[in-house]
């Protein structure tokens, strides 16, 4: 892993360290040149260039190769302190030194290319793994509502005379519900791809949290009436300068997560408060909570607590995390002692106490 650390050094640092190494080695040789002789110096310098080639990129290597050759020539090959070379065998030595140093540099290119290929391969494998997880959960999550729609439609078409009016309206309600579910999955997929593509840009506007939270809950209540909602927002909460669309999606996903994992008839509580230039949003439920050891991974992409259980593409909470982080905020999860889980969102945002404005 140290090796990777070295590779991650910036180009400037790579140059600096390479030149430093060459300078140290050549000064040492210079001090002991009486005992070593200039041929040994050539070998020691070559070893240094090889060492640099093992870790650094091509361009620092070629630069050190040239610099070290020049240093060797100038300071060590007699006559010293000139670039002139006296003996013909020394000219040959110098040329050989130069060739070997260049070969070193050339070999680095090969090594780096090989590493790159390996890295690309590994990345591809990771993407493939992620893709497979996605396909598995998606094909289940998309096909379930499609099956419901097709089944209900077939029933209405072929069994029409046997169905009571009540049956028919139930089937139509199933089609409606399944379509909403499909639509939600598609929306989450689109949001995920917005996050993944890195093109997400916040469209900030002043947000009235009371209005937004009630709007989300009212919309969900139109088709999911299985849970109770308790909304706790202080009257004097300021407006927050946030991306209302993204924040709305965050609340929708947290509430749907709670609906999915909590028994019918339980209460989902939503708090919003202002903590000096920060918005704190809490979604609390009375469900089973999350296994402590799994809390860290619930925000990972495609993660689901219990794969065999229906519900969720595993996208919802990772979108929550992505959208909150796009606001430079944080999201955390904890279990309550008395049962149920608590999602806390903390977003730094400009606030406006305009709503305290007296009537004009």
């Amino acid at each position: 892993m140290d090796y990777f650390f070295i590779r991650k050094l910036s180009k400037a640092k790579q140059y600096l360290y390479s030149i430093l190494l060459i300078l140290i080695v050549s000064s040492a040789c210079y001090l002991f040149s009486e005992y070593t002789g200039y041929h040994t110096t050539a070998l020691l310098l070559l070893v240094s260039v090889s060492l640099i080639a093992m870790f650094f990129d091509f361009s620092p290597v070629i630069v050190t190769a040239i610099v070290s050759a020049l240093i060797w020539n100038f300071f060590f090959i007699p006559p010293r302190f000139t670039f002139h070379i006296g003996k013909s065998e020394d000219i040959l030595m110098f040329l050989m030194y130069f060739v070997v140093a260049l070969i070193n540099a050339a070999l680095t290119i090969n090594i780096r290319q090989f590493e790159k290929r390996e890295q690309v391969k590994e990345e591809k494998e990771n993407v493939l793994k992620l893709y497979n997880t996605l396909l598995n959960s998606l094909s289940h999550e998309l096909r379930t509502p499609i099956s419901a729609i097709l089944g209900a439609a077939d029933n209405l078409q072929t069994n029409n005379d046997k169905l009571t009016e009540q049956n028919k309206s139930d089937l139509v309600a199933e089609i409606s519900l399944a379509s909403m579910r499909l639509n939600r999955h598609v929306e989450n997929l689109l949001n995920m791809s917005r996050l993944e593509s890195g093109t997400l840009q916040l469209k900030r506007d002043w947000c009235d949290m009371t209005e937004l939270v009630y709007d989300v809950v009212n919309r969900i209540n139109e088709y999911e009436t299985t849970h109770n909602f308790n909304i706790q927002i202080p009257e004097n909460i300021p407006y927050f300068y946030v991306d209302i669309g993204l924040l709305s999606q965050v609340i929708v996903n947290l509430v749907h997560n709670a609906i999915q994992y909590c028994p019918k008839g339980t209460t989902i509580t939503i708090y919003a408060t202002c903590l000096i230039d920060r918005l704190e949003l809490i979604v609390e439920d009375e469900g089973p909570g999350f296994p402590e050891e799994k809390i860290a991974s619930v925000f990972d992409r495609f993660y689901r607590i219990n794969v065999s259980r229906t519900g969720g593409t595993g996208l919802g909470l990772s979108i929550v995390k992505g959208f909150v982080e796009a606001h430079h905020g944080t999201v955390s999860l904890r279990n309550k002692r008395e049962g149920g889980s608590v999602f806390t969102i903390d977003i730094p945002a400009k606030t406006s106490y305009m709503n305290d404005l007296k009537n004009e």
Partner: protein, 228 residues
Amino acid sequence: MNNPEILVIDDEQQICRLLAITLESNDYKVHIANSSREGIIAAAQYSPELIILDIGLPDESGHETLTKLRSWFNKPIIVLSVLHDELNIVKALDNGANDYLVKPFRTGELLARMRSALRNTLVNDESSIINCEGLVIDLAGRSVRKDGEYIKLTATEFTLLSVLANNEGKILTHQFLLRHIWGPGYIGQSQYLRVFIAQLRKKIEKDPNQPELLITAFGIGYRFVCNP
């Protein structure tokens, strides 16, 4: 007005079929066009009472179709958009669309929007009293009553309410409202609007947290809805 004629401009056959069934069963006469070019010709040929226009058309952007239509067609146009993309929607509204719906939409919603768009064109005689579920707005007398009781509104609140109510059912963008009520210097100061909408809701809605009259379209604007 029996069987008003509606022109649907959309290239998706399934949506066209669905709209045709829905609209015909609600006593509208439906014409279908599958491209911008066909749509403009059909609009000239049938002069429909209302046009439903998809923004994503094969031959040119629906925005261009909208601009071309608006140079001579003055009946309502409702725009359909696939993505909930506020910029696109606001652009269409600025270019003269009366309303918008995001696919997938419920047909009930479409019919309601169509009714109010058609109503808007029918009642153009500055009827100075608007009556809506116990809320009576007297535009000339500048008074508002709720369930018979007079409500005190500030001047700005009244102006905002009357602009919205006068355009019943029509979505009015933030920019439009800010420019018309506060002036061009206030464009972008959407927090003013939020304050006054919240105050109005407290005064005229049964439950300000579940508004039925003043409806928010997040990122776009507000509409006054009166369900008869």
